[in-house]
Symmetry: C2
Subunit: 480 residues, 2 copies
């Protein structure tokens, strides 16, 4: 019953011993060459059959998409394109794939659009592109865990269902097990959430940060890696209603340390991908080159995929204060020539994607970390600078993708935090536990959030965020 995975077979010397392989037929050429894939690697194993040795009835079932088992000798390949191949002695069809039905699916051997593949998300992982993307996604996730664990961080699971909507990071989904049509009402006519499962109104988390802070103040260095949710009606190629986020949080670490951590972390993960996913990256690089050929010259990327990844590794992230960035933007050509949709007129303006892209792609031509933003456009928990008007916030901006990391040093002073919560209308009774951190042994601490799908997009070169997660959730779409 033992079979060997193709990724291992392709690393094996052709020793003429018998092997058994199982996988799915990608193609069957000239009634002789079966390209077999088992998902362990991008590459197919060539299985050579001598049709005279097999029943026609069996061979007829060896069609694209069918699952088969093949036993034979592993030999040096005669053809180009592969080092080894299998001389098939035994062949069994495990699961057929009716060619007429296959024709109606994305399994049929022709080029399908990414939109079409998205509609059949349960099958798309069987294609080369999605196999490569999802293997990379897996490796990147592991690299993230490895980075933090090796560096002494503890993984913590922030709660997904949260009783607080105080974080103000965005629209939330309500979680309930009350009757949806006739919820129990209180005397004042509002819904009586006391009768709900958790005896209060609950939502899906938008960020695990606040809880991660409680753990950093005990364990020192922690990180989260879990799903987060936004009920925002953004139907773009950059937004998901459900996405995975990584949020490290470090006690005794200031904003400089936080920037160091973000840069070191991202470089580690990208390096890991380059070293461990060479085949899939090569494939995706070529896919992207093909895709870009359909675009006007001006919209094409100047760098190939792996070149872009290496570029990030080899360059220091340029650290620029918000104030400097505003000066650069004010004086910039697109601002003067009114090419920006939102013109930069004065300090305090919130930066739009067009500004971030200008800074990264045109001005500095490298990853940029912007820091010390105006307090007025940032969250209540960010540490106020001595100037009284900026906070110790940072955003890491990447070419093509824009903001990939957002973080800050947290306000560790009880009085300052309390006052800010008052001014910004954050309910202190709900977040008493967050204030407690500033009451009992408070300390400088910092952290950031990295949207995992944005990272996967950057590394795989996929343009639409829906193509880097198995089953994307977007407005109007919760299929599968």
């Amino acid at each position: 019953m033992k079979h060997t995975e193709i990724i291992k077979i392709l690393q094996t010397e052709p020793t003429l011993h018998e092997i058994t392989v199982r996988g799915w037929v990608r193609s069957f050429r000239s009634n002789r060459f079966i390209a077999l894939n088992d998902g362990s690697t991008l590459h197919n194993l060539q299985c050579v059959v001598d049709f005279e040795n097999f029943e026609e009835e069996v061979l007829k079932k060896v069609t694209t998409g069918a699952a088969i088992e093949v036993t034979g000798l592993l030999v040096e390949s005669q053809g180009a394109g592969q080092a080894v191949e299998v001389q098939v002695n035994k062949l069994a069809v495990l699961g057929e794939a009716d060619p007429e039905e296959v024709k109606l699916t994305i399994l049929s051997p022709k080029r399908h659009t990414l939109e079409k593949l998205r509609e059949q998300a349960h099958l798309r992982v069987r294609t080369n592109t999605f196999g490569a993307v999802m293997r990379l996604r897996s490796k990147l996730a592991f690299a993230i865990h490895e980075y933090f664990q090796v560096n002494g961080f503890y993984y913590m699971h922030s709660p997904i269902i949260t009783g607080s909507d105080a974080e103000g990071a965005g629209e939330m989904f309500r979680v309930s097990s009350l009757d949806s049509k006739n919820p129990p009402l209180k005397e004042d006519g509002t819904v009586d959430f006391k009768q709900d499962f958790f005896e209060k109104e609950t939502n899906l988390t938008v960020s695990g940060q606040l809880e991660a802070e409680t753990y950093a103040m005990g364990l020192g260095k922690v990180y989260t890696f879990g799903p987060t949710f936004r009920a925002e009606n953004s139907n773009t190629s950059r937004h998901l209603a459900e996405f995975w986020m990584i949020e490290p949080e470090v006690a005794f670490c200031d904003l400089d340390g936080n920037m160091d951590l973000a840069e070191d972390f991202i470089k580690y993960v990208i390096k890991y991908a380059l070293e461990n996913c060479a085949d899939d990256l090569e494939f995706l690089e070529n896919r992207l080159l093909q895709e870009e050929k359909t675009k006007p010259q001006a919209e094409r990327s100047e760098m190939a995929l792996r070149e872009k990844l290496n570029f990030v590794l080899e360059n220091n992230f340029k650290r620029v204060s918000y104030t400097e960035a505003i000066e650069i933007l004010k004086r910039s050509k697109p601002n003067k020539k009114k090419k920006f949709k939102y013109l930069i007129e004065e300090w305090g303006a919130d930066l739009q994607s067009e500004h971030e892209r200008f800074l990264v792609e045109k001005h500095f031509k490298c990853p940029v970390i912007l820091f010390d933003y105006p307090a007025s456009i940032k969250s209540f928990y960010m540490r106020l600078n001595d100037d009284g008007k900026t906070v110790r916030a940072m955003d890491v901006l990447f070419p093509g993708i824009g903001e990939i990391v957002g973080g800050s040093q947290r306000e560790e002073r009880y009085d300052v935090l309390k006052q800010k919560m008052e001014v910004m209308g954050i309910p202190q009774d709900e977040l008493y536990w967050y204030l407690d951190l500033r009451k009992f042994g408070t300390a400088v601490h910092s952290g950031f959030g990295l949207g995992f799908e944005r990272l996967v997009q950057f590394v795989t070169g996929m343009g639409n965020i829906r193509d880097v997660i198995p089953y994307p959730r977007t407005p109007g779409n919760a299929e599968f």
Copy 2:
């Protein structure tokens, strides 16, 4: 600004060079010995101050819970209990902890009940017990990723919000962004979920298995590790409404291979904990011994914590068919003497916790894998045996904890699955994609689910599942 973590300092030879440490004061004894903890390890660093060299005003603030920074020489310790200590030259209080306020919290230096600690879940990670539990939780999570990655599995993220309630694994939480009081209604008076965010009714997932199957049928070997949810009103020490689950799924793998995988996997993870968390395990073992002393002799465990973990490593899991198990139970003393709450009278009975515990703890005295259960008490997707009445299901049962793994070989035959869905009332139109897997290159495949918190409970010896997750969600409780 550079400081060194205590876990590293304690591994360092006392070389008389100066170090800086930051952490929280656990105790300050005789105005001379500070026990400092930074969460990186269970162990405190002893910092010795000569009170004559420091302002009384500063020393007064060195109280339990305060955050301090200490600089000094690392020297060989004169006292027992530690190899090295710091001779403090500089001392700064970073964040005070008012002793009067500390007294009201679990940070006060006395024994608190686990119930009390649960109420202050934002502070409990600063205690020895929860520090140890949460470090172990983190290490176990990493061991799980490492096991699968090293063995060629790909990590996949199953969706959390799901449009299907077809799996029948338990009560679900509804996810919605409709107005909770006045949801839009259809003409027939029911809620018009077409107007909800996803344009249909959606719930939180109870299992990522079905989606994991779609990925196993493309990538070969996959695993999930994510949160799952049950809206069941179970207020027990074994149930959470939100918990993390690991679900491997393997193409071309039958139930025997599935059992091999479960056993190999669990042993790897436990071995990893023993090798990488020796200090925390020793502490938790002693904690458990103390706790057990308060119990009647008969309820105490026969084995200490690490002995129990080694016992799992050293013994093969006993594989027993459901049919054999029923025979054993029928003939058992507690059944004959009517000591079981649910007496075993005939084949087909669902096993209760009392039966599982009898098999594991009294009869076999080792971990047990039960397999080939009656089809009538198991899920629709499990593979029917040739006898027509049992399915290829398996449960791994552990001493003390009961079921830790549940899995099965999946029904790979289109017709059989379809018929079973019909009989069991599973909507086929909603799960058309699941049926598709049996239409296009179907193959034998298997998988299982492991409740992460159950595993953490087993390894840490914590009796209540609420004490192995940072912020437990249970009926009436979604604090923090």
